[in-house]
Symmetry: C2
Subunit: 349 residues, 2 copies
Amino acid sequence: MTERPNGRRPTLEDVARRAGVSKSTVSRVINREPRVREEVARRTRKAIAELGYVPNQAARSLVTRRNNAVAVVVTEPQNRLFVDPYFDCLLRGIRQELVHQGAQPVLLFIEEPDDYPRVGNFLGGGHVDGALLFSLRADDPLPAMVEQTGLPAIFGGRPVSGSGHRGHSYTYVDADNRGGAREAVRYLVSQGRRHIATITGPLNQASAIDRLDGYRDVLLDSPPQLIAEGDFTLQGGAAAMAQLLDRCPDLDAVFIASDLMASGALKLLRERGRSVPEDVAVVGFDDLTPIAEATDPPLTTVHQDIEGMGRLMAQLLFNRTPERPAPGDAGHPLSRVVTPTRLVVRESA
Amino acid sequence: MTERPNGRRPTLEDVARRAGVSKSTVSRVINREPRVREEVARRTRKAIAELGYVPNQAARSLVTRRNNAVAVVVTEPQNRLFVDPYFDCLLRGIRQELVHQGAQPVLLFIEEPDDYPRVGNFLGGGHVDGALLFSLRADDPLPAMVEQTGLPAIFGGRPVSGSGHRGHSYTYVDADNRGGAREAVRYLVSQGRRHIATITGPLNQASAIDRLDGYRDVLLDSPPQLIAEGDFTLQGGAAAMAQLLDRCPDLDAVFIASDLMASGALKLLRERGRSVPEDVAVVGFDDLTPIAEATDPPLTTVHQDIEGMGRLMAQLLFNRTPERPAPGDAGHPLSRVVTPTRLVVRESA
């Protein structure tokens, strides 16, 4: 219940009185300074929320120049976010860590070329303390724009070469996409599969390129008709699976670069009367449990810790020691933190 | 391809040269001033993106004090957004209009009580020109917080009484929830249905209350066991349907306050061996076509123009004339703009 003492704007004093703490304690809680007991901090935050108290920004700036806000810039159509649980998971990890640090996540979408200058304006406008960025494609102007703003930034996923990062020195967090793909394909080989196809992501994205490279590491001489390009969507996975079956009716396994595409492919295989894993073994990538456990049959897939990568990005932004520190490439302007992947065997392979 | 002339930070001159326009034209495009031909504006924005040009904020402030950014505050768990296409639709409408006005949408989530002071700080920090807010529950401190910031704000949905808006003067955009519900229930009556149940949304939300009121307008004496409270989720719809069937095995129709709940209820009815519409007629609310057209059978439902409501909120924020202007309640501090609803008959009733 919002209560406004006598209808006037609530003050720091009102909060202190309501929470039963000193004014300097309220100030310390607002500025996220240490040395406040968690119980006291919680009581104070409760009073702030109940009174609807908004600290005076000018007064706060004397204490700290931080905006206590971090931009999360997503270069995807907004509706892609709504159908792909990958982003849900990633954003959950980011949010968890930012909120833990007292920083407000500020979500910005880039859906079309016109969005770049507007987002660049906002990033350069002194509204946020840093930026987290994803899904960089070749020729993406974002890295150069962000460098101009002088904001600290962490990238999610390896930038594709040519994505304007040359001469810049960024840190990026990535899963071991190539190693994970290699493990998946080696497993299919070990199961006696002989005609192993692959459905890739869009090949202007580094994660898609790296997973295809992992497939090729194991199957050096795989003919091009066993490789179909998908788009990381369910429909795209089904379409690519149909293409592969038409081109190579005798394929007996397929490594698919995302769980969402794999679930589309499983549906298509069922429609074509191919049983999984008997006729065709299927391995996905992501291990998004709401998908991988719900498919029929449950999906064997490469696990990556998506939520953990989100947390790690936010930790690195504030120069906190990551849980799993890793050295950057020597002599390379990009430093990277690669998180491990592992195969989770269920029933589809 | 990002090209940086001689590796230095690109200037307004660089953009003008690349686009083949004057410096003042570049400046007018950046500040969204009128009197620039669309073709010239597009060419200039392309040059800005290609060069990765970020205007100097201090210089811009001489021209305009606007941040060219609007906060969109969503009081829902982030993952709710990922499973409910309602928000996707609403945000698409908002984005469309904000971008049209040259304002960057800045998405902020409130998931837990601790988030209020942090979001309040950001809103009060001079980073945005206005705020759009939704899903206000009883006792929500947001309206009072936003008023203190002095930001213009538009609300999506009628604030529940007690939600801290007393004494404030807000404009809100809402669908005709009560009228739509009335039309749905009258239709069921006209089809000869005699035991018409309802599944409501969470009754601390105005849209849920209003839809239940519409049901009661028609069925004045409906006994309480024909009313089950849901939570606007698919699972909640199925659970409420099970409850209703256990309590009233002879029910022959149900009006359900959202399409997502209706799709859960249809699944449950199928499991219980009740055919739709023969045994039980079902009417939903929303007309989210990806859901309503995909259910088995296709869903008869109350249509509301969700994307249009999003656009309208953004238009009202900038005091543009809405497409469908409506007068506020005389003598009431809240003024409202109500958009019409209409029944779309498919096969479930």
